[in-house]
């Protein structure tokens, strides 16, 4: 069950997308989010979607994964849709009017569809960053991108180290959770049935041993790190250096053009007589 989570997983490969500098990829990922939120009409959204699909095809990451990554956030999308559907008030007569207080307008429907598609594009697009970038390259890039903050005494290296260790221990702790759950089930714990509160309560005998063991692991890991002369980020070198080249700058330029295009669409679409939506 826990092994199905694909968000944050890395799928090794050698495509152009895989080989881009991870620092640029993070910046472009942020730009992509900005781009999605700038768009205010279906044409722009479709353009962003096409752009995303194109990059997916280039990366060689299977599209089946895309839908797998969407599954856990389906409830979020559903809630957003429902809220938009009932709370957006339009100018004209409501399409549905139940007892005067439950009303659905055309604008509500269009907005909720627009929002749902946008959240989906957001998750799918952002997942691509972790699908195509190794965790090490990712934390390295974050450390480098945030390094100006060191001057403000922000613990940049420590943050990156914590992320590396967290990523390292996710599979270990997932395995351990499965083991503890099996052990508690063997003793008659009922983890799968009952309402939400009952289920949450049933997790306590799983979480307590998990926490105890995580602290033990942390203690031993700290000792092992000390034995390997760990003393913070000061004077540390890295085996793999990050290299940026022409391809990274070209990719960045394409991203900038995409944003420019969507901004232009925002301005001109209303005059083309195509349905226009302000989210």
């Amino acid at each position: 069950m826990l092994k199905d989570i694909t968000i944050g997983q890395f799928f090794p490969g050698n495509s152009l997308i895989h080989r881009l500098d991870s620092r640029f990829k993070i910046i472009m990922d942020i730009a992509y989010v900005v781009m999605l939120f700038l768009t205010s009409n279906y044409i722009g959204l479709a353009a962003a979607g096409l752009f995303m699909i194109l990059i997916y095809v280039m990366s060689g990451v299977g599209l089946g994964l895309v839908f797998k990554s969407l599954r856990p956030i389906m409830p979020l999308i559903a809630i957003t849709c429902i809220l938009n559907l009932f709370f957006i008030k339009g100018d004209g007569e409501p399409l549905v009017n139940l007892w005067g207080f439950i009303t659905i307008y055309t604008e509500g429907i269009t907005t909720s569809v627009f929002m749902a598609v946008r959240i989906m594009f957001l998750i799918i697009g952002m997942s691509l960053l972790t699908y195509t970038t190794s965790p090490i390259a990712l934390t390295d890039a974050i450390e480098r991108l945030l390094s100006p903050l060191k001057k403000l005494h922000f613990p940049v290296h420590e943050l990156a180290m914590m992320m590396t260790i967290a990523l390292r221990f996710i599979p270990t702790l997932i395995e351990e959770t499965d083991k503890i759950m099996a052990a508690q089930k063997a003793r008659g714990a009922n983890l799968d049935t009952g309402g939400l509160i009952k289920k949450a309560k049933a997790l306590i005998p799983v979480l307590i041993p998990l926490f105890v063991s995580a602290f033990k692991r942390a203690n031993e890991l700290a000792l092992a790190m000390e034995c390997r002369c760990y003393r913070g980020g000061e004077g540390r070198t890295r085996m793999k250096q990050l290299h940026s080249g022409a391809k990274d700058y070209i990719a960045l330029l394409i991203m900038a053009l995409m944003i420019a295009e969507l901004v232009l669409l925002n301005i001109y679409v209303p005059y083309l007589g195509i349905p226009y939506i302000t989210p």
Binding site: R168, E220, L221, A224, M225, E226, C229, G235, R236, M239
Partner: protein, 291 residues
């Protein structure tokens, strides 16, 4: 040869606290331990749980400091805070649980960890990481993630992470306790290889007799004191004494001890299975010829 590690009259205790956090007694874990380990030796430290063997190991690279007495590594006092990284580079340490000593998500990144901490230039790190991985025979797994490996393989990665620092001594604190028999064999092979071929001093903390029997010298610890200190053959001949402190003897010695008790005149110090089997075969065929 000179001593790489020297412990002189080491005493280590920790306070026993009552419910209110007041000290009611002191638990003495190491009681006046003196030990010198010459460079290049393969030493096994044997003792049952709670004998103080792991505590002793933690004194060898300054993780713990003695309450009284002194530990020196290559002539440097482990209490000298300014040189602690020299000490830890000279004496590397491998722990019991391989999962809890691997820091990075990729094998080669983990092996590079110590060198990155020491500020070694990137090209040199690459060279030494490849070397270390080849030494423990894990080179082809360099791009794997640790959780895809078996216990024995993970422990070999942990060893590679230590030897990449090029230490002169490696202390292994029960490195095989969590492994299956296959993993245990892999680790023993690696440790022996490092000791024989690379001249690295090896200190193996263990409670497996078969492992201790492969060392050059065995130190038996009981209740924080050194009970025996000799070559394996001499140690394991003292079957009664070992049993009295809750330790076993290798199965071959157990067999010979049994034969001896029942009146046969056999030597007791045959430590390897081959040696023992050969001897028994000789004895039996000689008996048949004599008929």
């Amino acid at each position: 040869m000179s001593d790489i590690i020297k412990a002189e009259n080491v005493i280590f205790e920790y306070p026993v606290l009552d419910d209110e956090g007041k000290e009611i007694a002191r638990n003495r874990v190491l009681d006046d331990v003196s030990l010198s380990i010459p460079e290049g030796q393969f030493l096994a430290v044997l003792g049952h749980n709670g004998s103080g063997k792991s505590t002793l190991a933690k004194h060898f690279n300054g993780i713990l400091l003695p309450e009284s007495g002194k530990v020196t590594v290559d002539g440097i006092d482990t209490a000298d805070e300014k040189r602690i990284y020299d000490i830890r580079q000279t004496v590397g340490m491998v722990f019991q649980n391989p999962d809890n000593q691997i820091v990075a998500t990729i094998v080669e990144e983990d092996v590079a960890f110590a060198l990155e901490n020491l500020g070694v230039p990137p090209d040199e790190i690459r060279k030494r990481v490849d070397e270390a991985l080849k030494t423990v025979d894990m080179y082809e797994y360099r791009e794997h993630s640790p959780h895809q490996l078996s216990g024995g393989q993970k422990q070999r990665v942990a060893i590679a992470g230590i030897i990449a620092m090029r230490p002169r001594c490696i202390v292994l604190d029960e490195p095989t306790a969590m492994l299956d028999p296959k993993g245990r064999k892999e680790i023993m092979k690696t440790v022996k290889y490092l000791n024989r071929e690379h001249g690295i001093t090896a200190v193996l903390i263990t409670h497996y007799m078969e492992e201790a029997a492969q060392a050059d010298r065995v130190v038996v610890i009981d209740k924080g004191k050194i009970l025996l200190d000799d070559v394996p053959k001499k140690i394991f001949s003292q079957v009664e004494l070992l049993k009295s402190v809750g330790l076993d003897v290798p199965q071959t010695v157990e067999l010979m001890y049994g034969l001896r008790k029942s009146g046969l005149d056999v030597p007791i110090d045959l430590l390897s299975e081959d040696e023992c089997a050969d001897y028994l075969f000789e004895m039996l065929s000689a008996g048949e010829n004599g008929k």
